[in-house]
Protein backbone atom coordinates (compact mmCIF):
# COMPACT_ATOMS: atom_id res chain seq x y z
CA UNK A 1 0.00 0.00 0.00
CA UNK A 2 2.61 2.49 1.10
CA UNK A 3 4.83 1.50 -1.80
CA UNK A 4 1.97 2.25 -4.15
CA UNK A 5 1.49 5.62 -2.57
CA UNK A 6 5.13 6.64 -2.83
CA UNK A 7 5.27 5.57 -6.46
CA UNK A 8 2.47 8.01 -7.21
CA UNK A 9 4.23 10.90 -5.46
CA UNK A 10 7.58 11.63 -7.06
CA UNK A 11 10.19 12.70 -4.51
CA UNK A 12 10.49 16.45 -4.12
CA UNK A 13 13.41 17.73 -6.16
CA UNK A 14 14.97 20.83 -4.61
CA UNK A 15 14.94 23.56 -7.25
CA UNK A 16 17.77 25.97 -8.02
CA UNK A 17 16.67 29.13 -6.21
CA UNK A 18 19.62 31.52 -6.17
CA UNK A 19 18.32 33.21 -9.35
CA UNK A 20 15.34 34.52 -7.38
CA UNK A 21 17.59 36.50 -5.02
CA UNK A 22 19.04 39.65 -6.61
CA UNK A 23 21.77 40.11 -3.99
CA UNK A 24 23.09 36.62 -4.72
CA UNK A 25 23.81 37.67 -8.32
CA UNK A 26 26.56 40.07 -7.36
CA UNK A 27 30.23 39.36 -7.04
CA UNK A 28 32.35 40.17 -3.99
CA UNK A 29 36.08 40.71 -4.39
CA UNK A 30 35.86 39.24 -7.90
CA UNK A 31 34.23 36.03 -6.67
CA UNK A 32 30.68 34.75 -6.78
CA UNK A 33 29.02 35.81 -3.52
CA UNK A 34 28.70 32.81 -1.22
CA UNK A 35 26.27 34.11 1.37
CA UNK A 36 26.60 32.14 4.61
CA UNK A 37 25.14 34.72 6.98
CA UNK A 38 21.44 33.96 6.77
CA UNK A 39 21.18 33.69 10.57
CA UNK A 40 22.07 37.40 10.73
CA UNK A 41 19.63 38.24 7.98
CA UNK A 42 18.30 36.24 5.05
CA UNK A 43 18.57 37.50 1.49
CA UNK A 44 15.27 38.60 -0.01
CA UNK A 45 13.63 37.07 -3.06
CA UNK A 46 12.67 39.41 -5.89
CA UNK A 47 8.96 38.92 -5.04
CA UNK A 48 9.44 40.38 -1.56
CA UNK A 49 11.44 43.35 -2.85
CA UNK A 50 8.75 44.01 -5.47
CA UNK A 51 5.98 43.75 -2.89
CA UNK A 52 7.62 46.35 -0.65
CA UNK A 53 8.18 48.60 -3.65
CA UNK A 54 4.59 48.11 -4.78
CA UNK A 55 3.34 49.31 -1.43
CA UNK A 56 5.11 52.65 -1.85
CA UNK A 57 4.28 52.95 -5.54
CA UNK A 58 0.60 52.06 -5.47
CA UNK A 59 -0.67 52.30 -1.90
CA UNK A 60 1.30 54.36 0.57
CA UNK A 61 -1.22 55.47 3.16
CA UNK A 62 -1.31 55.34 6.92
CA UNK A 63 -3.19 52.53 8.61
CA UNK A 64 -6.23 52.49 10.89
CA UNK A 65 -6.80 56.21 10.38
CA UNK A 66 -8.06 57.21 6.97
CA UNK A 67 -11.43 56.70 5.34
CA UNK A 68 -10.11 57.07 1.83
CA UNK A 69 -9.46 54.15 -0.50
CA UNK A 70 -5.67 54.12 -0.15
CA UNK A 71 -5.93 54.11 3.63
CA UNK A 72 -8.39 51.24 3.53
CA UNK A 73 -6.18 49.23 1.19
CA UNK A 74 -3.09 49.92 3.31
CA UNK A 75 -4.96 48.84 6.43
CA UNK A 76 -6.13 45.67 4.68
CA UNK A 77 -2.56 44.89 3.59
CA UNK A 78 -1.24 45.49 7.10
CA UNK A 79 -3.94 43.34 8.71
CA UNK A 80 -3.44 40.64 6.08
CA UNK A 81 0.15 40.30 7.35
CA UNK A 82 -1.16 39.73 10.87
CA UNK A 83 -3.57 37.05 9.63
CA UNK A 84 -0.92 35.29 7.58
CA UNK A 85 1.49 35.24 10.54
CA UNK A 86 -1.20 33.87 12.86
CA UNK A 87 -1.81 31.00 10.44
CA UNK A 88 1.92 30.45 9.81
CA UNK A 89 2.80 29.89 13.47
CA UNK A 90 -0.58 28.56 14.63
CA UNK A 91 -1.22 31.50 16.95
CA UNK A 92 -4.58 31.56 18.76
CA UNK A 93 -5.99 34.22 16.39
CA UNK A 94 -4.88 37.18 14.24
CA UNK A 95 -5.67 39.55 17.10
CA UNK A 96 -3.19 37.69 19.28
CA UNK A 97 -0.36 38.77 16.96
CA UNK A 98 1.29 42.11 17.83
CA UNK A 99 3.34 43.71 15.08
CA UNK A 100 6.65 45.07 16.39
CA UNK A 101 9.92 46.45 15.05
CA UNK A 102 11.77 43.16 15.44
CA UNK A 103 12.04 40.14 17.76
CA UNK A 104 14.11 42.13 20.26
CA UNK A 105 11.35 44.73 20.61
CA UNK A 106 8.88 41.89 21.12
CA UNK A 107 10.87 40.41 24.03
CA UNK A 108 11.26 43.86 25.59
CA UNK A 109 7.51 44.24 25.28
CA UNK A 110 6.96 40.96 27.17
CA UNK A 111 9.32 41.97 29.98
CA UNK A 112 7.84 45.47 30.29
CA UNK A 113 4.29 44.34 29.76
CA UNK A 114 4.33 41.69 32.48
CA UNK A 115 6.46 43.68 34.91
CA UNK A 116 3.47 44.77 37.00
CA UNK A 117 2.55 41.11 37.61
CA UNK A 118 6.00 40.26 39.03
CA UNK A 119 7.26 40.93 42.52
CA UNK A 120 10.76 40.82 44.04
CA UNK A 121 11.88 37.22 44.51
CA UNK A 122 9.77 35.89 41.64
CA UNK A 123 11.93 33.83 39.34
CA UNK A 124 12.46 33.92 35.61
CA UNK A 125 14.19 30.95 34.03
CA UNK A 126 16.31 31.51 30.93
CA UNK A 127 19.09 29.37 29.43
CA UNK A 128 22.85 29.65 29.07
CA UNK A 129 22.52 29.71 25.29
CA UNK A 130 20.35 32.82 24.91
CA UNK A 131 20.96 35.67 22.49
CA UNK A 132 21.45 39.00 24.28
CA UNK A 133 17.91 39.84 23.11
CA UNK A 134 16.55 37.24 25.53
CA UNK A 135 18.99 38.13 28.33
CA UNK A 136 19.29 41.89 28.58
CA UNK A 137 15.56 42.80 28.79
CA UNK A 138 15.32 40.41 31.77
CA UNK A 139 18.52 41.77 33.33
CA UNK A 140 17.00 45.25 33.06
CA UNK A 141 13.76 43.98 34.59
CA UNK A 142 15.64 42.33 37.46
CA UNK A 143 17.46 45.61 38.14
CA UNK A 144 14.14 47.46 38.24
CA UNK A 145 12.01 45.20 40.37
CA UNK A 146 14.12 42.51 41.99
CA UNK A 147 13.02 39.40 40.09
CA UNK A 148 15.60 36.62 40.23
CA UNK A 149 17.09 35.26 37.00
CA UNK A 150 18.01 31.59 36.77
CA UNK A 151 19.49 29.75 33.84
CA UNK A 152 19.16 26.23 32.48
CA UNK A 153 22.77 25.07 32.01
CA UNK A 154 23.97 23.38 28.83
CA UNK A 155 26.02 20.26 28.27
CA UNK A 156 29.46 20.42 26.68
CA UNK A 157 27.71 19.17 23.55
CA UNK A 158 25.59 22.32 23.50
CA UNK A 159 22.23 20.93 24.59
CA UNK A 160 19.97 21.99 27.45
CA UNK A 161 20.34 20.01 30.65
CA UNK A 162 16.74 19.05 31.25
CA UNK A 163 17.73 17.24 34.45
CA UNK A 164 18.74 20.61 35.88
CA UNK A 165 15.47 22.19 34.76
CA UNK A 166 13.57 20.08 37.29
CA UNK A 167 15.59 21.68 40.09
CA UNK A 168 15.23 25.20 38.72
CA UNK A 169 11.45 25.13 38.50
CA UNK A 170 9.48 25.96 41.64
CA UNK A 171 6.28 27.78 42.62
CA UNK A 172 8.42 30.93 42.47
CA UNK A 173 8.98 30.44 38.73
CA UNK A 174 6.76 32.83 36.82
CA UNK A 175 8.22 32.87 33.32
CA UNK A 176 10.41 30.47 31.36
CA UNK A 177 11.86 32.17 28.29
CA UNK A 178 14.06 30.23 25.91
CA UNK A 179 15.37 30.13 22.39
CA UNK A 180 13.91 27.59 19.96
CA UNK A 181 17.02 27.29 17.76
CA UNK A 182 20.32 28.62 19.13
CA UNK A 183 21.94 31.22 16.87
CA UNK A 184 25.40 29.96 17.85
CA UNK A 185 25.11 26.25 18.60
CA UNK A 186 22.34 25.53 16.14
CA UNK A 187 20.69 23.33 18.77
CA UNK A 188 16.96 22.79 18.33
CA UNK A 189 15.72 22.90 21.90
CA UNK A 190 13.01 20.53 23.14
CA UNK A 191 10.68 23.47 23.75
CA UNK A 192 7.53 21.37 24.11
CA UNK A 193 9.16 19.31 26.86
CA UNK A 194 10.41 22.42 28.67
CA UNK A 195 6.99 24.05 28.29
CA UNK A 196 5.22 21.05 29.76
CA UNK A 197 7.44 21.11 32.85
CA UNK A 198 7.13 24.90 33.13
CA UNK A 199 3.35 24.77 32.88
CA UNK A 200 3.23 22.09 35.57
CA UNK A 201 5.14 24.52 37.81
CA UNK A 202 2.62 27.23 36.99
CA UNK A 203 4.95 29.32 34.83
CA UNK A 204 4.26 30.81 31.43
CA UNK A 205 6.53 30.06 28.49
CA UNK A 206 8.02 32.55 26.03
CA UNK A 207 9.87 31.31 22.95
CA UNK A 208 12.44 33.17 20.86
CA UNK A 209 11.80 31.66 17.44
CA UNK A 210 13.98 34.12 15.49
CA UNK A 211 16.08 31.31 13.97
CA UNK A 212 13.31 28.81 13.32
CA UNK A 213 10.28 30.50 11.73
CA UNK A 214 10.49 30.19 7.97
CA UNK A 215 13.23 27.57 8.28
CA UNK A 216 11.10 24.74 9.67
CA UNK A 217 7.47 24.26 10.61
CA UNK A 218 6.88 26.21 13.84
CA UNK A 219 3.61 25.89 15.72
CA UNK A 220 2.93 27.84 18.89
CA UNK A 221 0.39 25.20 19.76
CA UNK A 222 2.75 22.25 19.32
CA UNK A 223 5.59 24.03 21.14
CA UNK A 224 3.31 24.87 24.05
CA UNK A 225 4.37 28.51 23.80
CA UNK A 226 2.27 31.08 25.62
CA UNK A 227 4.29 33.81 23.91
CA UNK A 228 6.44 33.58 20.78
CA UNK A 229 8.57 36.15 19.01
CA UNK A 230 10.38 36.32 15.69
CA UNK A 231 11.67 38.80 13.07
CA UNK A 232 10.57 38.91 9.44
CA UNK A 233 14.03 39.65 8.05
CA UNK A 234 15.56 36.35 9.16
CA UNK A 235 12.98 34.45 7.11
CA UNK A 236 13.32 36.25 3.77
CA UNK A 237 11.08 39.19 4.70
CA UNK A 238 11.85 42.88 5.09
CA UNK A 239 13.81 44.47 7.91
CA UNK A 240 12.08 46.53 10.59
CA UNK A 241 9.29 44.04 11.19
CA UNK A 242 8.84 41.57 14.02
CA UNK A 243 6.06 39.81 15.85
CA UNK A 244 4.87 38.91 19.29
CA UNK A 245 2.20 36.24 19.30
CA UNK A 246 0.60 35.57 22.67
CA UNK A 247 -2.26 33.95 24.49
CA UNK A 248 -5.11 36.51 24.39
CA UNK A 249 -5.45 36.66 28.20
CA UNK A 250 -1.75 37.54 28.48
CA UNK A 251 -2.14 40.37 25.99
CA UNK A 252 -5.07 41.61 28.09
CA UNK A 253 -2.89 41.52 31.21
CA UNK A 254 0.17 43.11 29.64
CA UNK A 255 0.65 46.85 29.97
CA UNK A 256 1.61 48.76 26.83
CA UNK A 257 5.23 49.86 26.66
CA UNK A 258 4.76 52.92 24.49
CA UNK A 259 1.96 55.45 24.49
CA UNK A 260 0.82 57.47 21.53
CA UNK A 261 -1.45 57.44 18.55
CA UNK A 262 -3.38 54.35 17.51
CA UNK A 263 -2.93 52.50 20.83
CA UNK A 264 -5.73 54.39 22.60
CA UNK A 265 -9.43 54.14 23.09
CA UNK A 266 -10.15 57.55 24.61
CA UNK A 267 -7.80 60.36 25.54
CA UNK A 268 -8.39 63.28 27.87
CA UNK A 269 -5.86 65.89 28.83
CA UNK A 270 -4.94 64.03 31.99
CA UNK A 271 -5.81 60.39 31.33
CA UNK A 272 -6.35 57.84 28.60
CA UNK A 273 -7.74 54.38 28.07
CA UNK A 274 -6.09 51.79 25.88
CA UNK A 275 -7.30 50.16 22.72
CA UNK A 276 -7.89 46.42 22.75
CA UNK A 277 -4.92 44.19 21.89
CA UNK A 278 -3.10 44.01 19.57
CA UNK A 279 -3.44 47.73 18.77
CA UNK A 280 -2.80 48.55 22.45
CA UNK A 281 0.85 47.66 21.76
CA UNK A 282 1.23 49.40 18.40
CA UNK A 283 1.69 53.10 19.15
CA UNK A 284 2.64 55.33 16.25
CA UNK A 285 2.95 54.61 12.55
CA UNK A 286 4.23 51.08 12.05
CA UNK A 287 6.36 49.76 9.19
CA UNK A 288 3.38 49.23 6.90
CA UNK A 289 5.50 48.66 3.79
CA UNK A 290 7.34 45.80 5.47
CA UNK A 291 4.09 44.30 6.73
CA UNK A 292 2.59 44.57 3.25
CA UNK A 293 5.61 42.74 1.79
CA UNK A 294 6.07 39.96 4.35
CA UNK A 295 3.23 37.78 3.00
CA UNK A 296 5.29 37.47 -0.22
CA UNK A 297 8.07 35.90 1.86
CA UNK A 298 5.60 33.53 3.51
CA UNK A 299 4.31 32.59 0.04
CA UNK A 300 7.86 31.95 -1.08
CA UNK A 301 8.77 29.37 1.55
CA UNK A 302 5.27 27.90 1.77
CA UNK A 303 5.34 27.20 -1.98
CA UNK A 304 8.45 25.13 -1.36
CA UNK A 305 6.84 23.55 1.69
CA UNK A 306 8.30 24.12 5.14
CA UNK A 307 9.02 20.41 5.55
CA UNK A 308 11.08 20.53 2.35
CA UNK A 309 12.79 23.74 3.47
CA UNK A 310 13.71 22.07 6.75
CA UNK A 311 15.00 18.95 4.97
CA UNK A 312 17.13 21.07 2.63
CA UNK A 313 18.72 22.99 5.51
CA UNK A 314 19.26 19.76 7.44
CA UNK A 315 20.96 18.20 4.42
CA UNK A 316 23.25 21.23 3.89
CA UNK A 317 24.07 21.35 7.60
CA UNK A 318 24.90 17.63 7.65
CA UNK A 319 27.15 18.13 4.64
CA UNK A 320 28.86 21.09 6.37
CA UNK A 321 29.40 19.07 9.56
CA UNK A 322 31.02 16.27 7.55
CA UNK A 323 33.24 18.59 5.52
CA UNK A 324 34.33 20.64 8.55
CA UNK A 325 35.18 17.42 10.39
CA UNK A 326 37.77 16.86 7.66
CA UNK A 327 39.73 19.93 8.77
CA UNK A 328 42.06 18.73 11.53
CA UNK A 329 41.97 20.71 14.77
CA UNK A 330 38.81 22.65 13.90
CA UNK A 331 36.36 22.68 16.83
CA UNK A 332 32.70 22.63 15.82
CA UNK A 333 30.14 23.54 18.50
CA UNK A 334 26.71 22.08 19.06
CA UNK A 335 25.08 18.68 18.48
CA UNK A 336 26.95 16.37 16.09
CA UNK A 337 23.79 15.35 14.24
CA UNK A 338 22.12 17.82 11.85
CA UNK A 339 18.73 16.34 12.74
CA UNK A 340 19.07 18.11 16.10
CA UNK A 341 20.27 21.39 14.61
CA UNK A 342 18.98 24.35 12.64
CA UNK A 343 20.82 25.53 9.54
CA UNK A 344 24.02 26.92 10.98
CA UNK A 345 27.45 25.83 12.15
CA UNK A 346 29.80 27.77 14.45
CA UNK A 347 33.41 26.76 14.80
CA UNK A 348 36.71 27.73 16.35
CA UNK A 349 40.02 27.40 14.57
CA UNK A 350 42.91 27.33 17.04
CA UNK A 351 45.23 28.81 14.38
CA UNK A 352 43.11 31.61 12.91
CA UNK A 353 41.11 34.14 14.93
CA UNK A 354 37.47 34.48 13.73
CA UNK A 355 38.04 38.10 12.63
CA UNK A 356 40.97 37.14 10.48
CA UNK A 357 39.04 34.11 9.22
CA UNK A 358 36.10 36.30 8.20
CA UNK A 359 38.36 38.79 6.42
CA UNK A 360 40.14 36.05 4.50
CA UNK A 361 36.89 34.31 3.59
CA UNK A 362 35.45 37.63 2.43
CA UNK A 363 38.36 37.98 0.03
CA UNK A 364 37.10 34.76 -1.52
CA UNK A 365 33.53 36.07 -1.67
CA UNK A 366 32.40 33.96 1.29
CA UNK A 367 30.30 35.96 3.78
CA UNK A 368 30.33 34.53 7.31
CA UNK A 369 29.86 36.12 10.70
CA UNK A 370 32.69 36.35 13.22
CA UNK A 371 32.41 37.38 16.83
CA UNK A 372 30.25 36.48 19.80
CA UNK A 373 26.99 36.65 17.80
CA UNK A 374 25.28 38.57 20.61
CA UNK A 375 25.80 35.64 22.97
CA UNK A 376 28.73 36.57 25.23
CA UNK A 377 27.69 34.38 28.19
CA UNK A 378 27.43 31.36 25.89
CA UNK A 379 30.92 32.01 24.46
CA UNK A 380 32.26 32.29 28.01
CA UNK A 381 30.66 28.90 28.69
CA UNK A 382 32.27 27.47 25.54
CA UNK A 383 35.64 28.90 26.63
CA UNK A 384 36.22 31.04 23.54
CA UNK A 385 36.05 34.79 22.98
CA UNK A 386 34.56 34.47 19.53
CA UNK A 387 33.56 31.95 16.89
CA UNK A 388 33.11 31.93 13.15
CA UNK A 389 29.60 31.07 12.03
CA UNK A 390 28.33 29.82 8.68
CA UNK A 391 24.55 29.86 8.40
CA UNK A 392 22.37 28.51 5.65
CA UNK A 393 19.09 29.25 3.93
CA UNK A 394 16.88 27.95 1.16
CA UNK A 395 19.37 29.16 -1.47
CA UNK A 396 22.42 27.49 0.11
CA UNK A 397 24.14 24.72 -1.82
CA UNK A 398 26.82 22.08 -1.29
CA UNK A 399 29.08 24.23 -3.49
CA UNK A 400 28.71 27.05 -0.92
CA UNK A 401 29.96 24.68 1.79
CA UNK A 402 32.84 23.59 -0.45
CA UNK A 403 33.81 27.26 -0.96
CA UNK A 404 33.75 27.76 2.81
CA UNK A 405 36.04 24.80 3.44
CA UNK A 406 38.43 25.83 0.70
CA UNK A 407 38.51 29.32 2.24
CA UNK A 408 39.32 27.91 5.68
CA UNK A 409 42.19 25.86 4.21
CA UNK A 410 43.49 28.98 2.46
CA UNK A 411 43.29 30.99 5.72
CA UNK A 412 45.23 28.32 7.55
CA UNK A 413 47.96 28.33 4.93
CA UNK A 414 48.08 32.13 4.97
CA UNK A 415 48.65 32.31 8.72
CA UNK A 416 50.93 29.28 9.03
Amino acid sequence: MSAEKTSQEPPFVWPELSGHFPALQRTVNAHRLVYLDTAATAQKPETVIRAEQAYYRDLNANVHRGIHTLAEEATAAYENCRTRVATLIEAPSPSSVVITRNATAAINLIARGLEHTLKPGDEIVLTEMEHHANLVPWIMLAARNGVVLRHIPITDGGELRLDALKELLSPKTRIVSLVHVSNVLGTINPVAEVAEAAHRAGAIVAVDAAQSVGHMPVSMKELGADLLVFSAHKCYGPMGLGFLAARPDLLDTMEPMEGGGEMINEVFLDRATWAEPPLKFEAGTPNVAAAAAFPAAIDYFENLGLDNVREHERMITQYALEKLAGLPGLVVFGPPDAARRGGLVSFHDPEVHPHDMATLLDQAGVAVRAGHHCAQPLHRRLGVVATTRASFGIYSTREDVDALCEGIRFARRYFS
Binding site: N29, H353, P354, D356, T359, G371, H379, V385, F415
Partner: protein, 163 residues
Amino acid sequence: MSTSMLDQLYREVILDHHRHPRGRHELERIDIEESGLNPSCGDEVTLQFELDGDIIKDVAVIGRGCAVSTASGSMLAELVKGKTIEDARKIAEIFKRIMHGDDPPSEMDLGDLEALTGVRQFPVRVKCALLPWVTLLRAAVDASEKRAKVAGGEGEGSANGDG
Protein backbone atom coordinates in the same frame (compact mmCIF):
# COMPACT_ATOMS: atom_id res chain seq x y z
CA MET B 1 42.43 33.31 -4.72
CA SER B 2 43.80 36.84 -4.93
CA THR B 3 46.07 37.77 -2.08
CA SER B 4 47.08 41.32 -3.04
CA MET B 5 44.36 43.01 -0.95
CA LEU B 6 45.12 40.67 1.91
CA ASP B 7 48.80 41.47 1.77
CA GLN B 8 47.88 45.13 2.24
CA LEU B 9 46.15 44.18 5.46
CA TYR B 10 48.49 41.51 6.73
CA ARG B 11 51.91 42.92 5.85
CA GLU B 12 54.82 40.69 6.76
CA VAL B 13 55.75 42.85 9.75
CA ILE B 14 52.19 42.46 11.11
CA LEU B 15 52.30 38.71 10.70
CA ASP B 16 55.63 38.67 12.50
CA HIS B 17 54.25 40.62 15.48
CA HIS B 18 51.20 38.35 15.44
CA ARG B 19 53.32 35.19 15.53
CA HIS B 20 55.77 36.53 18.10
CA PRO B 21 53.96 39.15 20.16
CA ARG B 22 56.22 41.37 22.29
CA GLY B 23 55.41 42.28 25.85
CA ARG B 24 53.22 39.29 26.48
CA HIS B 25 54.31 38.68 30.05
CA GLU B 26 52.65 39.60 33.36
CA LEU B 27 54.60 42.31 35.18
CA GLU B 28 55.73 41.77 38.76
CA ARG B 29 55.30 45.39 39.67
CA ILE B 30 52.20 47.05 38.22
CA ASP B 31 51.69 50.79 38.69
CA ILE B 32 48.93 51.22 36.14
CA GLU B 33 46.66 48.53 34.73
CA GLU B 34 43.87 49.07 32.25
CA SER B 35 41.69 46.64 30.29
CA GLY B 36 39.93 47.23 27.02
CA LEU B 37 37.16 45.29 25.35
CA ASN B 38 35.91 45.35 21.82
CA PRO B 39 32.20 44.80 22.46
CA SER B 40 31.43 43.92 18.86
CA CYS B 41 33.67 40.85 18.82
CA GLY B 42 34.55 40.19 22.47
CA ASP B 43 38.27 40.71 22.00
CA GLU B 44 40.00 41.87 25.14
CA VAL B 45 43.37 43.34 26.05
CA THR B 46 45.00 44.27 29.33
CA LEU B 47 47.88 46.75 29.53
CA GLN B 48 50.18 46.79 32.56
CA PHE B 49 52.75 49.52 33.16
CA GLU B 50 55.67 49.66 35.53
CA LEU B 51 56.61 53.29 36.00
CA ASP B 52 59.76 55.05 37.09
CA GLY B 53 58.45 58.52 37.73
CA ASP B 54 56.81 59.42 34.43
CA ILE B 55 58.87 56.93 32.43
CA ILE B 56 57.36 53.63 31.31
CA LYS B 57 59.99 51.22 32.62
CA ASP B 58 58.19 48.11 31.42
CA VAL B 59 54.91 47.29 29.70
CA ALA B 60 52.88 44.14 29.26
CA VAL B 61 50.14 43.56 26.69
CA ILE B 62 48.01 40.56 27.53
CA GLY B 63 44.83 39.43 25.87
CA ARG B 64 43.04 37.45 23.24
CA GLY B 65 42.55 38.97 19.84
CA CYS B 66 42.87 38.70 16.10
CA ALA B 67 46.12 39.08 14.16
CA VAL B 68 45.56 42.82 13.73
CA SER B 69 44.87 43.62 17.39
CA THR B 70 47.63 41.26 18.58
CA ALA B 71 50.16 42.87 16.23
CA SER B 72 49.03 46.35 17.22
CA GLY B 73 49.45 45.50 20.91
CA SER B 74 52.88 44.03 20.25
CA MET B 75 53.95 47.19 18.44
CA LEU B 76 52.61 49.24 21.34
CA ALA B 77 54.80 47.29 23.74
CA GLU B 78 57.85 47.95 21.58
CA LEU B 79 57.12 51.61 20.95
CA VAL B 80 56.22 52.96 24.38
CA LYS B 81 58.77 51.21 26.54
CA GLY B 82 61.23 53.82 27.81
CA LYS B 83 58.99 56.75 26.83
CA THR B 84 57.08 59.01 29.19
CA ILE B 85 53.38 58.38 29.64
CA GLU B 86 52.72 61.72 27.96
CA ASP B 87 54.76 60.74 24.88
CA ALA B 88 52.97 57.39 24.72
CA ARG B 89 49.64 59.19 24.94
CA LYS B 90 50.67 61.45 22.04
CA ILE B 91 51.57 58.46 19.87
CA ALA B 92 48.19 56.91 20.66
CA GLU B 93 46.37 60.14 19.73
CA ILE B 94 48.25 60.45 16.46
CA PHE B 95 47.77 56.78 15.59
CA LYS B 96 44.07 57.08 16.30
CA ARG B 97 43.79 60.05 13.96
CA ILE B 98 45.76 58.25 11.26
CA MET B 99 43.49 55.22 11.49
CA HIS B 100 40.49 57.52 11.10
CA GLY B 101 41.91 58.90 7.88
CA ASP B 102 44.60 61.52 8.67
CA ASP B 103 47.93 61.39 6.86
CA PRO B 104 50.83 60.22 9.01
CA PRO B 105 52.85 63.25 10.21
CA SER B 106 56.15 63.45 8.29
CA GLU B 107 58.23 64.48 11.31
CA MET B 108 57.30 61.37 13.24
CA ASP B 109 58.73 57.89 12.92
CA LEU B 110 55.93 55.45 13.58
CA GLY B 111 58.19 52.44 13.22
CA ASP B 112 56.37 49.18 12.59
CA LEU B 113 53.09 50.94 13.34
CA GLU B 114 53.21 52.40 9.83
CA ALA B 115 52.38 48.91 8.51
CA LEU B 116 48.98 49.05 10.22
CA THR B 117 47.83 51.93 8.04
CA GLY B 118 46.89 49.29 5.43
CA VAL B 119 44.08 48.26 7.78
CA ARG B 120 42.29 51.48 6.81
CA GLN B 121 41.22 49.76 3.61
CA PHE B 122 39.19 47.37 5.79
CA PRO B 123 37.05 49.81 7.79
CA VAL B 124 35.47 47.15 10.03
CA ARG B 125 38.93 46.10 11.17
CA VAL B 126 40.12 49.57 12.25
CA LYS B 127 38.77 49.02 15.74
CA CYS B 128 40.92 45.87 16.00
CA ALA B 129 44.05 47.95 15.37
CA LEU B 130 42.92 50.64 17.80
CA LEU B 131 41.91 48.43 20.73
CA PRO B 132 45.32 48.45 22.53
CA TRP B 133 45.81 52.18 21.83
CA VAL B 134 42.43 53.40 23.11
CA THR B 135 43.15 51.27 26.17
CA LEU B 136 46.46 53.10 26.53
CA LEU B 137 44.64 56.45 26.32
CA ARG B 138 42.47 55.42 29.24
CA ALA B 139 45.55 54.23 31.15
CA ALA B 140 47.10 57.68 30.61
CA VAL B 141 44.01 59.27 32.17
CA ASP B 142 44.36 56.86 35.10
CA ALA B 143 47.99 57.87 35.49
CA SER B 144 47.26 61.58 35.57
CA GLU B 145 44.38 61.08 38.02
CA LYS B 146 46.62 59.01 40.22
CA ARG B 147 49.26 61.71 40.14
CA ALA B 148 46.70 64.40 40.96
CA LYS B 149 45.46 62.32 43.85
CA VAL B 150 48.94 61.83 45.26
CA ALA B 151 49.67 65.55 44.88
CA GLY B 152 46.30 66.53 46.39
CA GLY B 153 46.59 63.94 49.13
CA GLU B 154 49.79 65.48 50.56
CA GLY B 155 48.08 68.56 52.00
CA GLU B 156 44.37 67.96 52.16
CA GLY B 157 43.77 64.30 52.91
CA SER B 158 41.31 62.54 50.63
CA ALA B 159 38.81 65.35 50.18
CA ASN B 160 38.81 65.23 46.40
CA GLY B 161 38.53 61.46 46.04
CA ASP B 162 36.79 61.71 42.69
CA GLY B 163 39.79 63.36 41.05
